[in-house]
């Protein structure tokens, strides 16, 4: 055996070894971001809103049943409630107690996280009013679910076919910080589509899920 051949064999072994090792220690292959849970600019809790308060997903993600994108809700949607709700209940109670103790007027308590929201939309919490003189700045959320290039995923098709949000996004209502539940790989998509067509998914019997390439790639 020549030197050259030995070099080649060692190289191949090294590459294979790296790949196997990568799999075993749970490092994802390129473009697979399963488990990705970035820190968000506002510490928003899906557990609180979707879980405890049982808000409907579509209340905030209004595009999900009528557009390709479910959409990150605009701050104006948050303000529907947070016009009035400025802090968690315990914080409000504490303020009431303190005010009573110190024998002063009740101050409006504002949580640190909501203060960020108010700063973004230009809301003056002292007067509980929008203040036009304040500069507004959109909130820069970090995108959690990012589909690979060349794929066109359409939320409205899935939502209207009664695929539940949790099917792909996992138990969002239990997540304090949102993380990517599924690996969003093509195999994962296609397996589900095949299961639907073969009737394996009991809640989606009779539906037709396309397995044409151009169903998603164009």
């Amino acid at each position: 055996m020549t030197n050259k051949n030995i070099t080649i064999i060692i190289l191949i072994a090294l590459i294979m070894g790296t790949l196997i090792y990568a799999q075993s220690i749970d490092i994802n292959l390129p473009d697979n971001n399963q488990g990705y849970a970035p820190k968000q600019p506002i510490n928003f809790s899906h557990r609180l809103h979707a879980g405890d308060l049982q808000l409907d997903c579509l209340y905030c993600h209004t595009g999900a049943d009528k557009s390709r994108h479910a959409g990150v809700p605009p701050a104006s949607v948050c303000m529907n409630c947070h016009n009035f709700v400025t802090a968690p209940w315990d914080m409000v109670q504490l303020e009431e107690e303190n005010a009573k103790k110190e024998n002063r007027d009740l101050q409006i308590p504002v949580s640190d996280e909501l203060a960020k929201l108010y700063a973004a939309v230009g809301f003056n919490t002292e007067k509980m009013k929008y203040d036009e003189s304040l500069t507004k700045k959109p909130i820069e959320w970090n995108r959690v679910h990012n589909i690979p290039a060349y794929v066109y995923f359409d939320h409205r098709r899935h939502v209207n076919a009664e695929v539940s949000c949790q099917q792909c996004h996992g138990a969002v209502e239990t997540m304090e910080t949102l993380s990517q539940e599924s690996d969003l790989s093509m195999g994962w998509c296609v397996n589900c589509h095949r299961d639907v067509n073969s009737g394996k998914l009991s809640d989606l019997v009779g539906k037709n899920a396309s397995t044409n390439c151009a169903g998603c790639h164009y």
């Binding site: 390129p30 009528k66 104006s76 820069e140 060349y150 151009a214 164009y218």
Partner: protein, 1011 residues
């Protein structure tokens, strides 16, 4: 077993003659090979050593591995703070507005995504254009994102602000008492016109002059002589059974081509047992789009045309018992004259004679014929006249006279470029700089605005409000689809500011409508409802203006005289190309790279001449000729044009525009790549220098001498690219891709001219059953005029890049659609056919079997799918495609961060280097329609899916739908006896089929069915 037609079709002379160069192009799908690899693999002593080849190969592998391991960076999702109620991210919304590409003013809809327009489509409800848009209209959306558009006003070449420029101009105006002139293109906006009048009324001896670079002035002038009113008739081609056109390219560029094409093709429906379709005579010296579609095309110089016109007028006068002076031309072919007169006389009141010759005395005779045939009130409407073109050549002449005498104190120019397009543009330039106050309203720095002391930057029409009275009683509304920059203002808004009135453009417009237009509204409503409805629809029908008094028809006094050419002089005909028109949009790269419908050339203008004339001068395509008319010279390449008159040469106007220098470097930058232009050069040459200011009108023909210069510059012709002819070594058999017949033959046998091959029995009987949808398309060659609107529509919809001239030479143009143009017959009298060709979506596709990575596969709805992220770029599919419709990305054509990228359609990928692409049958539109139908829980109806090419086709030649639905329009088209598919004998089972062209001719077509 093959069929043989006696008729031969050819795309260019080189194909007909089968020149060795042409045979060479058939050898391989891709003409240029990467030299290094080719050399390394085949040569015994390669230039590249084995060691360095492996080094490069190894580096690419390692590089791509490292690149693939880098994790993606954090991506932001930034929602709006307060969402407008009607906007949902990811959903398209549409605005109805009016195209301002030319002043024909077609109704359009713009598709907006994420706050910006990305596509122009026709407005099907619009009363004139009825859903059609031309290539220029389609390309307007690219112009919106043009980085060279002015963003700020300029004073003496320096950027300034609206406030400063206003005070500078008004202080100058304060010192001017009279003689203020406003020069614009045709202005069919009543509100702008009124504002200009109001502004000028402050200065005595002032005038608003309208001037069109390509003028229709003679038609208006002749009507002033004949009927006492200077009007442009509104032509109704749908009511015309016989159309005689003297050099008027009404299907290509003349007056309102989209509207005319719609009307013209509506008169060419083959319905019933003995269908009647209109008969179209075209007399011309060059080959125009209309000439290519004519039932009877007669080659003639302008002198011969006028002789024939006079002879017809004489005969019509005799038959109608009216007087006609003894005007006569030279050598009118009496056979032609009799044929036309008989046709016209048998269609009295249902015929139409038109002429594109801008000479009042010629138009005078045309009007006489129409009047005696009783066509006024039928096929020509002067009561509800067209306001699409209103230029007045004499006024411009008068203005220049005044400028010479120093009688012009201030000159305002808007939407017009006289320093480029006037016959005496050099003289105009000197005179213009002497006028004390010159202000130009412009979107770009152009020939005129660069000379003006002040430039007011105007917004693009897609970002401004406007109104247009296209035809008397038909108001079209323009609304902004995206907000304009604050410093860009319309003429109306600027003048109103100077007058100390409202500065809000919308308010000015609404006020005008409330005072002047609302009173003409039909039906009762409040102003707000009337306005809202008009903006929503994009147009509104109102009561026509007060009827004007027409006088009894009176023939003009002067006989038409046209220069005669003989011996060594040639008649030069100046024409507009369907893509470039008068040159206003020369900075639009889509339009520059659109193959001309007739010559199939891109990125240039040239001299069209006949084969015989070319032989006389010993020139071939691309040899530079010097064209000389009394000292005015231009050196341009020769383009041999079948069907051209031997004494006529033709040059397109609209080239040599300032600002086209920007295209020098367009296209991919690589070692062997050459620029589209030499640095500092312009695209083409200005041919307006050959126009002549005659007594009343500007003449667009001239007498010229030709001489050979000995230079040669290649013409970027796409005509023989993607040719389906077999190479000689495989038999060289010519299969006719286009089929045609005559009306007489069609009535005898609807399948005449359409010989279906005798199919051998199938080996594979159990073929795939398409159970859901089965998409198919049918294209009617009888309707397609070759106008090329679909090509640009496809380019806009599918994110197709511009590649530049050098890449076109290498047959690398990227457009998914091409329009093959075939000739038949000899050079003298050719018949021309246009055939749009895109991926044929074969059910038995040759490309699919050869892809080693399954990147191109068939869908269960009959679509041939191309999956970009699977494609590794072997190009086997393109080699195996018999229709030559696949396009390979040799480079990354898209550059990050360019403003022009805003035009990209977010519903479809931009393909990267090394990937094959082709027509997807707008699968994104199919998916969208299917998804919406499911969302709304209703069945998908026939016509819910409109493909990009189909939607804007002015001729309604393309239909698309589901063949499993037997009632669908496409199923009916496929069941038609005229239906055929290309290369049917190969059994590819294409999803795209064609309908035979039927020409309205009396003779039985001579092609025989041979075996």
């Amino acid at each position: 077993m093959s069929e043989k037609n006696t008729k031969k079709y050819w795309k260019g002379v080189e194909e007909r003659e089968f020149t060795p160069e042409f045979a060479q192009t058939l050898e391989s799908e891709f003409p240029a090979k990467p030299e290094e690899i080719e050399d390394f693999l085949t040569s015994p002593k390669p230039k590249t050593s084995r060691r360095s080849f492996l080094k490069i190969a190894g580096f690419s592998v390692a590089g791509s591995m490292i690149a693939s391991c880098v994790g993606g960076s954090i991506e932001k999702s930034i929602p709006v703070l307060i969402k407008p109620e009607e906007i949902t991210p990811g959903k398209a919304y549409w605005y109805a507005t009016t195209c301002a590409g030319c002043s024909a003013s077609c109704g359009i809809l713009t598709k907006n995504r994420d706050g910006r327009p990305i596509k122009v489509e026709g407005n099907p409800q619009h009363l004139l254009s009825k859903g059609g848009v031309c290539a220029v209209g389609q390309a307007m959306v690219l112009g919106l994102y043009d980085t060279h558009r002015l963003q700020k006003p300029k004073a003496n070449g320096q950027d300034t602000s609206s406030m400063e420029i206003d005070s500078a101009i008004t202080s100058k105006l304060a010192g001017i008492n009279d003689n203020v002139y406003f020069l614009t293109g045709t202005l069919s906006s009543p509100s702008t016109k009124a504002t200009i009048q109001k502004f000028l009324s402050k200065y005595p001896n002032s005038k608003h002059i309208e001037y069109d670079a390509v003028s229709y002035s003679a038609i208006l002038d002749s009507h002033e002589i004949n009927f006492g009113q200077r009007v442009l008739p509104h032509y109704n081609f749908d009511k015309a059974d016989v159309i005689v056109s003297f050099d008027a390219d009404f299907l290509g560029t003349w007056i309102s081509p989209v509207e005319f094409t719609k009307a013209y093709t509506s008169g060419r429906k083959l319905e019933g047992k003995s269908p009647k379709i209109n008969k179209h005579f075209q007399l011309e010296g060059r080959m125009s789009v209309s000439g290519a579609n004519a039932d009877r095309r007669i080659k003639a110089t302008r002198e011969e045309e006028v002789a024939i016109l006079l002879a017809i007028a004489n005969k019509i006068a005799q038959r109608s018992g009216s007087e006609f002076p003894s005007w006569q031309g030279k050598n009118a072919d009496s056979k032609v004259v009799n044929e036309i007169v008989d046709s016209l006389w048998s269609a009295k009141g249902k015929s139409l004679v038109i002429s594109g010759i801008n000479d009042v005395n010629v138009q005078n005779v045309v009007n006489f014929i129409n009047e005696k045939l009783g066509n006024y009130g039928q096929t020509l409407d002067i009561e509800n006249a067209s306001k699409q073109w209103n230029g007045n050549d004499s006024d411009v002449k008068e203005l220049i006279g005044k400028m010479k005498n120093g009688q012009v104190n201030a000159l305002f120019v808007a939407d017009s470029n006289p320093a480029y397009s006037l016959p005496n543009s050099e003289e105009f330039k000197t005179l213009f700089s002497k006028v004390p106050l010159t202000v130009s309203f412009a979107e770009h720095i152009d020939e005129t605005s660069s000379l003006a002391k002040f430039i007011i930057s105007t917004p693009h029409f897609l970002e401004s409000w406007n109104d247009t009275e296209v035809v008397s009683g038909m108001m079209s509304v323009t609304q902004p689809t995206v907000p304009a920059t604050k410093e860009n203002r319309t003429v109306r808004q600027t003048l109103s500011t100077w007058l100390g009135e409202s500065t809000d453009d919308l308010k000015i417009l609404q006020n005008y409508w409330q005072e002047n237009i609302f009173s003409r509204a039909e039906g009762l409503s409040t102003f707000q409802t009337f306005w809202d409805n008009s903006v929503h629809d994009g147009f509104v029908k109102i009561k026509p203006q007060e009827p004007v008094e027409f006088t009894e028809f009176a023939l003009g006094q002067n006989a038409p005289k046209v220069q005669s050419v003989s011996g060594d002089s040639y008649e030069l005909v100046l024409y507009q190309k369907a893509a470039m028109l008068d040159g206003k949009h020369a900075q639009n790269a889509w339009l520059q790279e659109l193959s001309d419908p007739v010559t199939k050339a891109v990125w240039d203008n040239y001299v069209c001449l006949s084969q015989k004339t070319a032989e006389k001068f010993g020139v071939v395509n691309g040899d530079v000729l010097k064209v000389d008319s009394d000292g005015v010279t231009v050196n341009l390449m020769a383009q041999i044009q079948p069907g051209q008159h031997d004494n006529v040469v033709a040059i397109a106007v609209g080239y040599g525009r300032m600002g086209t220098e920007r295209f020098a470097k367009i296209g991919p930058k690589w070692i062997e790549g050459k620029g589209t232009l030499e640095e500092g050069k312009k695209v083409g040459k200005n041919a307006y220098h050959f126009t002549q200011q005659k007594a009343k009108n500007i003449s667009f023909s001239n007498k010229v001498q030709l001489s050979k210069t000995g230079e040669h510059r290649d013409l970027a012709l796409t005509q023989t690219h993607h040719t389906i002819t077999e190479p000689e070594k495989f038999g060289g058999e010519r299969r006719n891709m286009v089929r045609e017949t005559t009306l007489a033959s069609y009535i005898k046998d609807p399948s005449s001219g359409n010989h279906r091959p005798h199919m051998t029995p199938e080996l594979w009987e159990q073929d795939f059953k398409y159970e859901g949808h089965h998409w198919a398309m049918s294209i009617d060659l009888g309707k397609c005029t070759g106008c090329s609107a679909c090509v640009i529509s496809c380019q806009a919809e599918n994110n197709i890049p511009v590649v530049g001239k050098d890449e076109v030479f290498r047959r690398r143009e990227m457009q998914w659609m091409r329009i093959d143009r075939y000739y038949s017959g000899d050079d003298g009298d050719v018949d021309t056919l246009h055939q749009p060709v895109m991926c044929q979506h074969c059910d038995h596709a040759p490309c699919e079997g050869v892809c080693p990575v399954l990147a191109t596969v068939h869908s269960d709805e009959g679509l041939n799918q191309q999956i970009y992220n699977r494609c590794v770029g072997t190009r086997y599919c393109a080699n195996n495609c018999p229709y030559k419709v696949r396009r390979f990305n040799w480079f990354d054509y898209w550059n990050q961060g360019e403003k022009e990228n805003l035009v990209l359609n977010p519903d479809i990928t931009t393909r990267s280097r090394g990937v094959m692409e082709k027509c997807s049958m707008c699968v994104q539109r199919i998916q969208e329609a299917k998804t919406e139908a499911k969302r709304l829980n209703k069945p998908l109806a026939d016509g819910d899916i409109q493909l990009a090419c189909q939607q804007s086709c002015p001729a309604d030649a393309i239909v698309f739908g589901d063949v499993n639905d037997k009632e669908s329009v496409v199923s009916k088209a496929i069941a038609d006896a005229r239906n055929y598919t290309m290369l049917e004998e190969m059994n590819f089972r294409t999803g795209v089929s064609y309908l035979t062209k039927v020409r309205n001719r009396g003779e039985i077509s001579d092609d025989k069915h041979g075996h």
